[in-house]
C-alpha cells in the first residue's frame, strides 16, 4: 500500500532529483497558477527547489534554516527549519522520522494507476489541511496534492525522478547575495 511505499521511499531514497510542474486549481478546478522547475533533496532536511517559470525563485533547506530567495524582488525570506519543516511538503519529501511526528498517514483509494496516501498535518499552523502522495509501480513518488484552507489545491507532478544521485553539499547551502533584502530571523 502507499504508506508502505512511503516508508520504503524514505528508507531507500536517501537523496533524489526530479523536474516538477506545480499547478494550482481553485474549487471549480480552474487553474490559478502554473509553475515549473527542478527539485533536489538529501535526507534529512536538506532540499533545493528551483522555480524557473513563471518567475525565478529558489527555496533551500540547509538542515537548520529554510531560505526563500525571490530573484526579481531581490528579497530573501528565512525561517527556522523546524517551524517551516514540521508539517510542510518539504518535510514529507526530505524528512526522516518526523513524517510520523508531523502527520497522520492513511492509505486511500488509488486513481490514475497510482497508489495514494493522505497525510494530515498534526499542527494547525500550517497552511495545508491535507496532503496526498501518489506512488507508481516502482514505488517512486509521482504526484503530491496539497489542499489549502480555501479548497484550492496544488498538484505537484514529478518527472525523471533520479534516486540517490550524488549531490554536492553546496547545493544545500545558501548565502543571501549582496544588497538583497533579508526578512525573518
Amino acid at each position: 500500500a502507499a504508506t508502505d511505499k512511503l516508508k520504503s521511499f524514505i528508507a531507500g531514497t536517501r537523496s533524489a532529483q526530479a523536474g516538477f510542474t506545480q499547478e494550482v486549481l481553485d474549487k471549480s478546478g480552474k487553474r490559478i497558477q502554473l509553475a515549473s522547475g527542478t527539485m533536489q533533496f538529501v535526507r534529512p532536511g536538506k532540499f533545493r527547489w528551483v522555480y524557473q517559470k513563471p518567475y525565478e525563485q529558489l527555496i533551500v533547506g540547509d538542515g537548520k534554516k529554510f531560505w526563500l530567495y525571490d530573484i526579481d524582488l531581490n528579497q530573501v525570506t528565512v525561517k527556522k527549519l523546524d517551524a517551516a519543516l514540521g508539517s510542510s511538503p518539504a518535510a514529507l519529501l526530505s524528512g526522516d522520522n518526523e513524517i510520523e511526528r508531523g502527520f497522520v498517514l492513511k492509505d486511500i483509494e488509488g486513481r490514475d494507476g497510482l497508489e495514494w496516501l493522505q497525510a494530515t498535518p498534526k499542527s494547525n499552523e500550517t497552511t495545508f489541511e491535507k496532503i496526498l502522495m501518489a506512488f507508481d509501480a516502482r514505488s517512486e513518488l509521482a504526484v503530491m496534492e496539497l489542499y489549502d484552507a480555501f479548497g484550492h489545491h496544488t498538484v505537484l507532478r514529478f518527472t525523471e525522478l533520479k534516486n540517490n544521485p550524488a549531490l554536492p553539499s553546496k547545493l544545500f547551502h545558501f548565502v543571501p547575495p549582496e544588497g538583497a533584502d533579508v526578512l525573518g530571523e
Binding site: I32, D70, L73, T127, F128, A149, D181
Partner: protein, 169 residues
C-alpha cells in the same frame, strides 16, 4: 499542458475586466511583506488571492455589492472599505480602488494626475492621490501595452507589483 491565453494589450473600454497572476512586495519602514497575488477584476466585483510559495492561498480579499471581505488564517472579516480592512487584518494595504486603473497604466477617473510618457507613448511615471507610480516593464512595445512591473510610493510606503501573466479575457 497549455496555459491560459495571455493578454498583452489593454482593452479599449474604461474599467474593462482583467485577470493577472503576479507578486506583490510591500515595504513600510522596517516592515516587509510579500506574497504571490492573483487579481480577478470585474466592474462590480474584485477577488484578490494572496498565495504562498507552493501556491496555497493564505488570504482571499473580495469586494462587491458595497461590501469588502477578507478571509485569512481561518477567520472571516467584513467591512465597508477594503483598504481599511487590509490594513487592519494584514497590517498593509493596497489602494485598490485606484490601483485597478493604475495597474493597466491608466489614471483613475477622479482626482487630478500628471503623467510622464516615454518615446513610444508608454507611461513611465503617473502621480495621483499622493501616490507616485513608476512603470519599468511592459508586455510589449505598444502604447497600449499592459505593464508587467510597477512601483508605487507614498510617504514611506513602497509597493512593488510584478505581473507574471495577464490572462486574456
Amino acid at each position: 499542458c497549455a496555459t491560459a491565453p495571455v493578454a498583452v494589450h489593454r482593452q479599449a473600454q474604461a474599467d474593462a475586466p482583467f485577470t493577472f497572476n503576479g507578486r506583490v512586495a510591500v515595504k513600510q519602514g522596517e516592515q516587509r511583506d510579500s506574497a504571490g497575488m492573483r487579481w480577478v477584476h470585474r466592474s462590480d466585483e474584485d477577488e484578490i488571492l494572496l498565495l504562498a510559495p507552493l501556491g496555497q492561498t493564505v488570504a482571499r480579499i473580495h469586494r462587491g455589492a458595497g461590501e469588502a471581505t477578507l478571509d485569512a488564517s481561518g477567520k472571516h472579516h467584513a467591512a465597508q472599505d477594503v483598504e481599511g480592512l487590509m490594513q487592519q487584518v494584514l497590517g498593509w494595504q493596497l489602494p485598490l480602488s485606484d490601483l485597478r486603473y493604475w495597474v493597466t497604466a491608466v489614471p483613475a477617473p477622479d482626482g487630478e494626475f500628471d503623467i510622464e510618457r516615454d518615446a513610444n507613448g508608454q507611461v513611465k511615471v503617473l502621480r495621483q492621490q499622493g501616490w507616485e507610480i513608476s512603470y519599468s516593464r511592459y508586455a510589449a512595445m505598444a502604447a497600449d501595452a499592459l505593464p508587467l512591473r510597477l512601483k508605487l510610493q507614498r510617504d514611506g510606503v513602497q509597493v512593488l507589483l510584478l505581473i507574471d501573466e495577464w490572462e486574456a479575457q
